[in-house]
Amino acid sequence: MQEFNLELMIKELEVLMGDKLRIGSDQFFAVLNIESNMLTVLMTKLRDEYGFNHLANLSSVDYGEEFELVYHLYSIPDNKKLLVKTRVPRTSAELDSLITIWPTADWQEREVYDLMGIKFKAHPNLIRVLLPEDFEGHPLRKDFVMGGRS
């Protein structure tokens, strides 16, 4: 395998994905914004061809109309890093599961489903992981009404 070059990789991916992929960056990461239907294709490529073998963090943010899924990718042991983001609309919050690419996505996706209410297609066991099974609602959504002392 040749020397890893982040810019080269991004260029290659841009050619491959076309307008499905938007490149950005923030202070700490190179950011790939990918459309949710192309997510598994991109991720498979990132793992197999560019060696991002460690899905460190899988999380989600509620931005009102849309949910943003956040994937922090690293590689062990050479420690390159990348941030992949994708958005799904609130009305049909559903996207592909990454469990076949990284088994570690299993519980992390269940957690996102549990707390944010985003469904993952083809996840074999998409049930709540932290909250009780009969819990109603998804507490990390911004429109979740806090109960208890009110």
Partner: protein, 366 residues
């Protein structure tokens, strides 16, 4: 041929060896484990939702309760993440104090892991050895933060107060005794025939599986991968210290246990260097009472906690409270591998595996 039925045994949530509220549903064929289904959430406190209603400073004590056995490490991770978000510089002296406190926490956590493995395997005396030595670290914590278990001594911008008199001699004498402690743990348990038979070849975690499942920390290093965030992505001033990354190659329970003992020694080395290099000066930057990061700015900061990669993902909307805060808890991710390493083993191996994976439920359930 005798036919046997598959039956389930619920280990936990109330069980002596589940380190809190872990519920492992063991599906067994006789004494052989077919599968383990892990149920979490018995200590779920919705810390991520709470964060959205607290200011950045108010949230510091909540992080201490994530990994309550290595209390300074999650606090350190959170404070560093917020500092990264705001671009706050931490004074030198505070950096050194932080390193000392973090490494002491790591030692304390590993001592619990080691001693809890002892009692889970029936070696009650093993428990007492670790607890006895951990007591000294707790006393040191009490000196600095006034709290033994959940000191929120590390703050955004530095530490809460300067170290008191008597701190350095206490830490010094502790560090000097660390090799002796390690000898004692090894002498009582590692060399024991029964101990080796219970741990060797039990719960083998191959390096490939470990990476696929996102296992980090001592559990990953026991599988032969020298990946330590203190070296790979040094936060603060870790790059200044000389230390080794202990690894083992088998990936079994004995290796996970021995890696932790070795890490205690390495932490001792770091503390020693930090004590020598500690400069005088400020212990905290002046941080405004109300912290308002730029809107839309986000950070993912990860540190090598005692259990593995502890990450904080914080999104700011420009207000004084985080818009979204996510904790990447190493225990949560590491536990995912429990069914994989338990399959095909006997029931007693389940207990060994839980003990040597060293999950902390406050962190995995959040």
């Amino acid at each position: 041929m005798l036919e046997s039925d598959i039956y389930t045994v619920n280990v936990g949530p109330i069980h002596p060896s589940t380190h809190g509220g872990l519920h492992a549903e063991a599906i067994m064929d006789g004494e052989i484990i077919e599968n383990v289904i892990v149920h979490l959430g018995y200590v779920h406190r919705s810390v991520e939702k709470i964060a959205e209603g607290k200011t950045y400073q108010q949230y510091v004590p909540y992080t201490a309760r994530l990994d309550y056995l290595a209390t300074n490490l999650p606090v350190l991770g959170y404070c560093q993440a917020v500092e990264k978000l705001l671009g706050i510089e931490v004074p030198e002296r505070a950096q050194y104090i932080r390193v000392i406190m973090a490494e002491l926490s790591r030692i304390a956590s590993h001592q619990i892991a080691i001693s809890a493995t002892g009692i889970d395997l029936g070696a009650t005396t093993g428990l007492m050895y670790g607890m006895r030595d951990r007591e000294r670290i707790m006393n040191i914590f009490e000196m600095t933060g006034g709290q033994r278990l959940l000191s929120s001594y590390i703050r955004i911008g530095g530490v809460a107060a300067d170290i008191p008199d008597g701190f350095i001699p206490a830490v010094m004498s502790l560090v000097q005794d660390i090799p002796g402690m390690m000898d004692e743990y090894n002498g009582l348990m590692t060399g024991n025939e029964i101990w080796a038979a219970r741990m060797q070849g039990v719960g083998i975690l191959t390096p490939e599986t470990a990476i696929q499942y996102g296992v980090t920390g001592p559990n990953l290093r026991a599988s032969g991968i020298a990946y330590d965030l203190r070296r790979a992505e040094p936060d603060g001033i870790y790059h200044r210290f000389e230390f080794d990354i202990p690894t083992r190659n088998g990936g079994d329970s004995l290796d996970r246990w021995q890696v932790r003992i070795d890490e205690i020694g390495e932490s001792g080395r770091i503390i020693e260097q930090a004590l020598e290099g500690m400069p005088n000066g400020e212990i905290s930057t002046r941080v405004p009472k109300v912290l308002k990061p730029e809107p839309g700015k986000e950070v993912y900061h990860r540190i090598e906690s005692a259990k593995g990669e502890l990450g904080y993902y914080i999104v700011s909307d420009g207000s004084s409270k985080p818009y979204r805060l996510h904790v990447r808890a190493p225990s949560f991710i590491n536990l995912m591998v429990l069914p994989v390493i338990c399959r095909g083993g006997v029931f007693q191996d389940l207990i060994t595996n839980i003990a040597t994976l060293d999950p902390i439920l406050g962190e995995s359930d959040r």
